[in-house]
């Protein structure tokens, strides 16, 4: 299942709409978003105490998701991140493949560029197929999404099906409006733990 090289003219999906669609039926899924555009997209879809937005540790989002998924096996954990961010921690896919957490899904919003640093090309624009790498790492399933119907077909794998699952969603690189995202680390982590653990957050 080779990924098609995504030429700009063929990419029609828009990142904000994609993330909004994914999160529309999230239920009580826990969401971790990677540094950069992904955190913006998640906040734009609607702030939620079950969101943990990352503003640093590039390469670490998938691993934060893993730790969370192992700690909360009965909750769905969805990591939403960018192609550059995931590439910076690509070894994570092997670590996750070995642990094989059923409740973890990773969604890569792939605009084939480093958004926060001047839109330099990333490797995914030059033939690196993250879904194929995930399958080689032992993921239960993986897909590359180019169209709205393909996105719909990926909803159950992202939100419900037995994982670990990785979806790469190709989006165009047009600029989007910046949104305000809570970035006070201690506040966010307290809020997240209180929503998840209730009084046990004090332990």
């Amino acid at each position: 299942m080779a990924a098609r090289k995504a030429k700009p003219a063929h990419i029609t999906l828009q990142r904000r709409a994609v993330v909004k669609r994914i999160l529309k039926h999230r239920g009580d899924a826990l969401v971790v978003s990677g540094i950069g555009n992904a955190s913006q997209d998640c906040a734009a879809a609607g702030d939620d105490p079950n969101n943990f937005y990352l503003f640093g540790i590039m390469g670490g989002a998938a691993m934060v998701g893993l730790g969370m998924a192992l700690a909360q096996p009965k909750r769905r954990v969805v990591v939403i991140t960018g192609d550059g961010e995931l590439l910076a921690g690509i070894g994570s896919l092997a670590t996750i493949g070995v642990q094989a957490p059923k409740n973890l899904a990773i969604v890569v919003i792939d605009n084939q560029a480093y958004g926060a640093t001047g839109m330099q090309d990333t490797h995914t624009g030059h033939g690196v197929d993250l879904a194929a790498i995930a399958l080689g790492s032992g993921f239960a399933n993986a897909a590359t999404v180019y169209t709205a119907p393909e996105l719909e077909a990926a909803m159950d794998p992202i939100l419900e099906d037995r994982g670990p699952f990785l979806a790469v969603v190709k989006v165009h690189a047009k600029a989007v409006r910046r949104v305000k995202v809570p970035n006070d680390g201690p506040y966010m982590r307290s809020r997240f733990r209180r929503a998840l653990l209730g009084d046990a957050a004090d332990d």
């Binding site: 070894g91 070995v98 490797h123 033939g127 690196v128 197929d129 879904a131 790498i133």
Partner: protein
Amino acid sequence: MARRRIVLKRRNVVARILKDRGDALLITGLGSPTWDAAAAGDDAANFYLWGGMGGAALIGLGLAMAQPRRNVVVITGDGEFLMGLGALATIAVQKPRNLSIVVIDNQHYGETGMQESATEHGVDLAAMARGAGFENADTVYTAKELEAAVPGLYAARGPSLVAVKVILESLPIVLPPRDGPDLKMRFREVVLGDGTTG
């Protein structure tokens, strides 16, 4: 996924690979691959790593880009290679024809007590390499498959990755030189001749 039998022995594999090296430059990842290369016979065109775990393939990339007319082979282990998996993407995008990576995959960490590595648990390095864009990536289990794979390592058809599955063995350690500046000097003399002071 049916698992194939592993039969190959690492020292034989490395000796076989290096037999046809010609003037290829060799980088070896830390630990067992370095001992294997030393056991096959020290050579000034070998740069042995005693640290920098995760970096072997990328050192090979830099060397291959600096010396496009020389074959560059990296021989490393599964644990070392797993620590620098980003190299797959970085190398694939640069497409160095003259670079081949051989992973001697015994599915364990040899220097730290033989703990299982991710390749023991279903991580398929050749599949990951293909996903990254390597056109030539294979897993080798038998002597016959190894024979078929060796010519490709020296045919400038890279970047290539060959993962060779080998049995778990406890072998006598063969120590090559480890003094970094010394290794660097003699290696550069091989590569650059009189140009080392340039």
